[in-house]
Amino acid sequence: MSSKLQVFAIAFVLAALGFFVTWYKIVYLDIPITPNERQSLFTISAEITLTGDNAPAHISMALPSPQTGMKIISQESESGEFGYTITKTAEGDRAEWAKRTVEGDANIFYKITVVPEPFYKVLTDESIIVPEEPNQIVEPTEEGVLSLWEESDRSAALTLIDTVRKRSADPISFTAELIWQFNAKQPVESVSALLNMKGQNKLSLITTLLDQENIQHRKVRGIYLEDGQKGRRLTTMIEVKDGNDWEFFDLEQGHIVKPANFFVWQRGNETLFKTKGLAKSKLRFAVTETQVPVSSLAQANKLASNSEFLNFSLYTLPSSQQNAFKQILLVPMGVLIVVILRILIGIRTMGTFMPVLFALAFIQTTLVSGLIMFFVIVFSGLFIRFYLSRLRLLLVARISAVIIVVIAIMSIMSIVSYKLGITQVLTITFFPMIILSWTIERMSILWEEEGGREVMIQGGGSLIVAVLAYFAMDNELVMYLSFTFPELLLVILAMIILIGRYTGYRITELLRFAPLGR
């Protein structure tokens, strides 16, 4: 096979491979093609308002556990001077705040950021949280848990249970019927009687009656993820065990499927919130929604999902390495620009890849301030280089001297501009100073050897390439694609290989050979 054919074959295989993997990731792994897709992110904040009692205070609040369909991105406590710890209990984690003396009013915030993610699965099953079963502690008499109630209430309860039991077949239908009875427009006499009991409400009555019937159940407290909620209490629901599954019951609607936007804060019958040593305390919840680009969330959701394939994704690296790779993966794009401009267009530059290094620096400094800094450093560097040439130093020593001078110029620029309040210039540290010094050296040699015209042509060419490479690299889409689909590197590689075998004219040669075009 001729080398030309081989080049085409290799380029084709590389490009096909790159596109295939990208296509696979887009279609089957559902990774968005553009970074502009947005996703909702909910911040639930638990706000504890408390008034101290000049005594040691202790506050304990249940914390959410990982749950299917909801990805928890971050959790944090803002508790000021309160000591903050997390305690693990059988029913999940609890946040504990404590302080020796609390005077006056204080606030504690607990913020949790959540993304609804339909396909997100938690490996640890939430059904492991099994409440202590009161019906096994209390002697199963006919009165059961109702033994402490007054006679009239107990008979009303038993009547209701009797009615409900007749109209149901199993724990699920019993619970559904019971809730229906409580929600009926004209409740039966026994329900009205129970609702009039002191210190009882619908929730406590239903759970007591379920206990009485030996039905395993637990409370579920949570909040609907809707924007703009403020000063809310958690909504309480009930889960009833049927075989191995827990079925969901809403106190208003009866038997339901768990709503997709219902975030479970706590499961089980433990108290949500308890305090000690405080005069007053209150726990309320707020929900705010923000829209964020998918890419910034990607690490936290899709890409770190359970796909084996993506275990090799760059998103699995630690975030500092990720940032390094985000830069590194832009280099091929810049290199491609250099290849195109040099081989197809024919622009002359000083040093083959020097423009890419400057483009990378411009990304950090922003273009305009980067260019200004470049000119200031190069011109002052050239000035000093002309003086150094009079001192008659050896080449290596001279370039080293230029490097130090460049560093000095950079330091002075930083200090002066910082004093003037132009913090933009502080990003100057991203300039590759060794390359800059070599550029200054080459420019001054070129100046002496071939004149200022050639310096302008090559220096200008380098800057044009650097600016174009900057635009190619400092582009949200390119940054996103290169990092999310690193296999596109293969496509760039294929393009570079193909361009590497281009034997036609460069655009600038059409100008150069114009006298031959007569």
Partner: protein, 315 residues
């Protein structure tokens, strides 16, 4: 003349571009292991002498910075000379001293240089400032070429040289590079030297360009290039063709100067010859390249030179 050439037109003329040259000529016929033969002027000198080609006489070579302390003694015997980096290319780093005036050295363009300045220049050469890839280099001091008076009318403040492209041993195309005031006495087309296309069959001028524009007369001497006829043309082609056998490089630029006393001398070889020669000749190299490709390999130098003069010159 339009300011841009059409691709169609360039193809018709057989003009080759940098990409074609790099891939199809240099990449294909110049193997890297032979580059030192042409990139190192000392080696070039040595193998040329072995092949019976005349070269400029070597006065001295300076390898170490410490030798610069003896520079005065090294230069003492010579009234005029040229200093060159062994690994230089494109005429970079070359100084030509035509005579002395007391303690100062006078360059070809009339400017003066002190011993200290020459010393600095050589120090830069040794540090690798002019060498390919910036590696440490060696400086050589050579006898100055006294160019033949036949070129007096076509050169200004410098030595004109003859560049012949040799493809697979066949002289392919030739031009003479005539220094001008603008080029600072250097035979470098970029800097404004005149490129004169030379008929490979006869050694007569065909066409002249300066800075890519066709001209008729030398800008400084005002002589018409049409009068230019290079003497001993066949001998020059012979030298160029021999360089192929000597180096094994299939696409080679040979630079030859014409000394008043010694006749044609090989100045240097170039494994990456430029393409401006096409503009000077108003002709592309490609048709001739394709014609040479049809020839059988293994012909003698004489046969190749004859073929170039008789056949290639008509293409």
């Amino acid at each position: 003349m339009s300011w841009i050439a059409s691709i169609q037109k360039l193809k018709e003329k057989g003009v080759i571009g940098m990409n074609y040259r790099n891939i199809e000529l240099i990449g294909r016929y110049n193997s890297r292991d032979k580059y030192p033969l042409v990139d190192n002027k000392l080696i070039t000198k040595k193998i040329a002498q072995e092949a019976g080609i005349a070269v400029t006489e070597l006065y001295a070579k300076i390898e170490w910075q410490s030798e610069l302390n003896r520079l005065h003694d090294i230069l003492a015997p010579y009234e005029n000379f040229a200093i060159k980096p062994v690994h230089g290319s494109g005429g970079k780093g070359i100084i030509v001293i035509t005579h002395r005036e007391g303690d100062v050295f006078i360059k070809a363009n009339g400017e003066s240089m002190t011993l200290l300045q020459i010393r600095d220049h050589i120090s830069n050469i040794l540090s690798g400032l002019y060498s390919l890839g910036g590696r440490y280099d060696v400086a050589i001091i050579e006898k100055l070429v006294v160019f033949d008076p036949v070129f007096q009318n076509f050169s200004y403040e410098g030595v004109p040289d003859i560049r012949i492209i040799v493809y697979k041993g066949y002289p392919l195309m030739a031009m003479m590079r005539c220094p001008t005031h603008q080029s600072n006495g250097k035979a470098n087309l970029h800097q404004g030297a005149v490129g004169v296309g030379i008929d490979i069959g006869t050694g007569r001028a065909l066409n002249a360009v300066m800075h890519n524009h066709p001209i008729q007369t030398h800008p400084n001497t005002k002589h018409d290039f049409a009068e230019l006829q290079i003497p001993q043309w066949e001998k020059i082609l012979h030298i160029a063709a021999t360089c192929y056998d000597m180096t094994g490089l299939g696409y080679l630029g040979t630079d030859i100067v014409f000394d008043e006393n010694f006749g044609p001398l090989l100045l240097e070889l170039n494994a990456r010859p430029g393409l401006a020669i096409q503009i000077a000749n108003d002709k592309g190299e490609r048709h001739r390249v394709e014609r040479v490709d049809k020839e059988k390999e293994g012909k003698s130098v004489e046969e190749r030179v004859r073929f170039s003069m008789d056949v290639l010159s008509k293409i």
